[in-house]
């Protein structure tokens, strides 16, 4: 027979839906069905059951082939690599739980690593902007219950956070928003008329890379001052109209994503967006929220915040934490050959870093901890598969609005497979032995 587990948290993106239902076999070993998840979440749960899953660590041989090794051997290789490195990079930390993040932090302290997470290629520039200007924000429930003006700037939730609009931002009927989407006005700013723009009331098709000008134009428009005829490809009439729409609402929320964090301007774009939100608070209630990508990149930033005082790019190599994006960030370190070993857990830089960085991982002693086979495991010397957090092991994760939710274990991992925490504990113990601490 089967049993249904409710209130399951989806471990894919920062939306961190917690209303999934998973049907498992009675003995808890097989995952059969997933309900309420989006296509991507469902795939994550179901793929954990794939028959061709790699279940044991493997080491790259001279002739390029993989050879299966034991967890003990993998632990030994990893511990030696980290202990002997002068300045190892320990990267990823976003598709795992806070418990593993904390263990990894302890390990990083002892080996003097640079710790970086996926914010470095995602919302790192947002974090830098927040350090300059702050951030007026709220939880997603405030959006659901109060917001009547929704802006998606440089993000495409229809594709990247598929249930966001139905759970929080456009469709829900909240306490003060009983009319659902009918009581909301939605503005999308994007160089493409995306699928998200198709459900919006207004699409401002900004010239790619010119968001900085357009954001500043909004600030001018709020004050009713003079604008040039066209800014960033948008006619000034449309800018004034959109500004009025925002000012006339009761609660405006700006969601933003890679369109502004990754294009030129980077942190300055976000700075401008936050300034727009601050200004808007003079006329009505306004908040802004980054659309975080991985389901627990936020958690990684929180854990490092309370342990070290910085949310990403934390350099521990001198024995105390230092932070300087551009100097202590993963891609810059790799490009400048400033790290001599690479440890990746809970992310896939092989697929998501520029190739020039990936080549550097290939050139160095490297270990990838990942349940999947990926371009990262392809360039590392050792690949250690682990249980999926949120599926085969529980643990805390933080949503895009920083709300912590505890993920669940719904099914047993494959026989003999370790979790991130188990692997890290063993490596930590071995490193302590090697270093005599």
């Amino acid at each position: 027979m089967t049993k249904t587990i409710t209130d399951v948290i989806c471990p894919f993106c920062g939306t961190l839906c917690d209303d999934l239902e998973v049907v498992v076999s009675d003995d808890g070993k097989q995952l059969l069905e997933v309900y309420n998840a989006c296509a991507i979440g469902a795939e994550k749960f179901l793929h954990s059951q794939a028959k061709d899953r790699i279940t044991r660590p493997r080491m790259r041989q001279e002739d390029g082939s993989w050879k299966e090794i034991t967890y003990d051997e993998a632990i030994e290789y990893t511990a030696q690599m980290l202990a002997n490195a002068k300045k190892p990079l320990m990267y990823g930390w976003s598709s795992t739980n806070c418990e593993a993040q904390a263990l990894g932090s302890e390990l990083g302290e002892i080996v003097g690593a640079v710790m970086d997470n996926t914010a470095t290629v995602c919302h790192g520039t947002s974090l830098i902007a927040v350090q300059d200007i702050g951030i007026p924000s709220c939880t997603l429930g405030e959006v659901k219950n109060r917001a009547d003006r929704i802006v998606f700037w440089g993000c495409n939730p229809a594709h990247a956070h598929p249930r966001h609009m139905s759970r929080y931002s456009i469709f829900p009927r909240g306490f003060f928003t009983g009319k659902g989407h009918k009581g909301r006005k939605v503005i999308v700013v994007d160089p493409r008329p995306t699928d998200t723009a198709n459900v919006a009331d207004v699409h401002l098709q900004v010239e790619q890379g010119r968001d900085y000008e357009l954001l500043n134009a909004f600030r001018v428009a709020f004050k009713g001052e003079k604008l040039p005829d066209v800014v960033a490809g948008i006619p000034k009439e449309k800018i004034y109209e959109a500004a009025e729409t925002l000012k006339s609402g009761r609660f405006a929320i700006i969601f933003f994503g890679m369109g502004v964090t990754q294009s030129l301007g980077k942190n300055h774009n976000i700075d401008a967006a936050i300034a727009v939100t601050r200004d808007l608070n003079e006329y009505t209630k306004a908040a802004i929220m980054p659309m975080r990508g991985h389901y627990n990149v936020t958690g990684s930033g929180q854990v490092w915040g309370w342990l070290f005082g910085f949310p990403f790019a934390v350099d521990l190599s001198r024995g105390y934490a230092r932070y300087n994006p551009g100097e202590t960030t993963a891609n810059d370190l790799l490009r400048r050959d400033e790290v001599d070993a690479v440890f990746v857990l809970g992310s896939d830089p092989g697929a998501h870093f520029p190739f020039s960085s990936v080549k550097k991982i290939y050139d160095r002693p490297s270990v990838a901890i990942d349940p999947h086979e990926t371009p990262t495991t392809e360039v590392c010397k050792v690949h250690v598969p682990v249980a999926f957090v949120g599926v085969e092991v529980g643990g805390c994760a933080y949503r895009m609005d920083n709300v912590p939710i505890e993920t669940r274990k719904v099914v047993e991992p494959p026989e003999g497979m370790m979790t991130d925490e188990e692997f890290l504990s063993r490596v930590l113990a071995r490193v302590k032995e090697i270093k005599g601490v």
């Binding site: 894919f12 296509a39 991507i40 795939e43 994550k44 793929h47 794939a50 470095t120 290629v121 790192g124 520039t125 830098i128 495409n156 229809a158 594709h159 990247a160 598929p162 160089p191 493409r192 008329p193 995306t194 098709q205 790619q208 890379g209 890679m258 369109g259 964090t261 990754q262 294009s263 030129l264 980077k266 942190n267 990508g293 990403f312 790019a313 994006p325 551009g326 202590t328 960030t329 891609n331 810059d332 490009r335 092989g350 697929a351 998501h352 870093f353 520029p354 190739f355 020039s356 960085s357 990936v358 080549k359 290939y362 050139d363 999947h372 086979e373 990926t374 371009p375 392809e378 360039v379």
Partner: protein, 133 residues
């Protein structure tokens, strides 16, 4: 004729689903080893839909399949879903922010009908070994 376009990268549902199913599988290549071009740019390029093309920037080069923009029109802007193909050509410069310039890289697109689109693992492996990607 070769065209010059402004390349952006990003997520798509197909990228997400195929990624979770396994990046070593063909579905991932089908989802991410592509470049979405506006019809106007296709015309300039002079290629049929679904032809392989070579995308080149100051930073690298990659062969992907050219498809019609699914969220267009956006003449002059081309889109490759985030992944190892896109990352062969994006601007790696972080300008001291830590963030490579994943959105907004000028690229040249040439027809490359007979060149194959490599799978993600093959692509990365060959490039690391210095073989033509």
């Amino acid at each position: 004729m070769a065209i010059r376009v402004n390349l952006i990268t990003g997520r798509s549902i197909q990228q997400g689903v195929s990624m979770e199913a396994g990046k070593e599988k063909p579905a991932y290549t089908a989802a991410c080893g592509i470049i979405e071009l506006d019809p106007v740019d296709f015309k300039k390029l002079g290629a049929f839909r679904n032809t392989n093309v070579r995308v080149t920037s100051d930073y690298g080069s990659v062969v992907v399949k050219a498809v019609e923009a699914t969220q267009g029109p956006h003449p002059g802007v081309a889109y490759i879903p985030m992944g190892p193909w896109a990352n062969m050509v994006v601007n790696p410069d972080t300008y001291s922010t830590g963030m490579p310039t994943f959105k907004g890289t000028p690229v040249t697109v040439d027809i490359a009908k007979n060149e194959p689109v490599l799978s993600s693992l093959e692509l990365v492996r060959k490039a690391c070994k210095g073989e033509q990607a």
